[in-house]
Symmetry: C2
Subunit: 223 residues, 2 copies
């Protein structure tokens, strides 16, 4: 990067950080747990949210902010499960920014428990942008390969949890989930690691419990 | 984006375009066909290159420029197939730029036929950066889903060929290759579409022939 590019990037990240801090403060005050989902395109973020919607139905109130470059497709899938969803289309931009999330916050229902933010499918750029979330989850699907954490370290370094998805495909793939987890943990030892097949429901109880416990901690003031 | 960001981005793209044009001119003069491979992380770019290396061994001379944020892993895999490879680690940047490719060109053997450039795994940012390539191929793996072209249109719009990869997994997935191809063709009707399983070798003859024909056109001056 040229010096001018470095300065513009620094200003952009600085402004984003301030807006993110305001969002986090507001969501904490309202007792809403926010979760930022990061991954490559097609790692299963929307399918995971559909499975969570089914699991939380009648038990916890959830909503979703969908980030995509183009189309309303993901928000439509979520709404079809009876969950409120707002689509942010970035029109070319490779990540969500806190100000985009901030614009939607006024429409979020007062009695919400969980607010999921599905970032643009991209394992690189979204890692640098705090969206005011309480938890950041990075998804890695088994077909992507177990060598990805060290190739895209920032996403794993900034995450609280790693969700290994599409575990039902593992018998058909050269993928070792223990190797993927170990490599991610070598980057960020505090990562909580989950293995799920959202299509089959495997591992979803543990993941849902993780969010419910984090919500309880947030509301007890120990987030 | 702010006005300042727009100006910086415009300058960056303008400079990149100039450098790319110089690279294209030099490679054409040397009779080398260059191919820029774009896709999400884990779509199978390196595995495709390994399969091409096996197919071209003793018949065409190929080399690879590997772009990654971190690690030399991909270049090592390519070298293990007896193919020269240069690793560019961007150290955080989400795409390759022409100047990065330009730095390696001096080391490229004079008698080369095919120069593949494997971009950083990212379906968004690399689409905006011309690397001086003759052909751009976008890969979409079956586990990523057939709804991706319209969600990430720029990568498909700027490509010459679409390679649907990991077709061996289709029986285990909710993926319709005809739907994926039709959606990509609705964005870019001129796209050549290939279906391959690099691990099993399926579809590799057609793809290899496509590159060999493009090389012949380039050397006959009809690129």
């Amino acid at each position: 990067m040229t010096r001018k590019e470095v300065i513009v990037m620094r200003d952009l990240l600085g402004t984003n950080k301030q807006v993110a801090a305001e969002i986090r403060k507001e969501l904490r005050a309202r007792g809403i747990l926010s979760v930022n989902l990061l991954s490559s395109p097609g790692s299963g973020k929307t399918t995971l949210l559909e499975a969570l919607a089914d699991r939380f139905r009648g038990r916890r109130r959830m909503a979703v902010i969908e980030g995509d470059i183009e189309t309303e497709r993901d928000a439509e899938r979520i709404r079809a499960r009876g969950v409120p969803a707002w689509q942010i289309t970035t029109g070319g931009a490779c990540h969500l920014e806190a100000r985009m999330v901030g614009k939607v916050l006024g429409e979020v229902p007062a009695d919400l428990d969980l607010l999921f933010i599905e970032n643009v499918g991209n394992l690189v750029c979204p890692a640098s942008f705090d969206l005011g979330e309480e938890l950041r989850c990075v998804l890695l699907s088994s077909p992507e390969g177990d060598d990805k954490p060290k190739k895209y370290p920032q996403a794993f370094l900034t995450a609280d949890a790693l969700v290994l998805t599409k575990t039902d495909l593992i018998p058909h793939l050269p993928f070792d989930p223990a190797k993927a987890a170990a490599e991610a943990l070598s980057i960020k030892p505090e990562l909580r690691v989950f293995r799920v097949s959202a299509l089959r429901g495997e591992g979803m109880d543990e993941l849902a419990a993780y969010f419910v416990e984090a919500l309880a901690r947030l509301r007890s003031g120990h987030a």
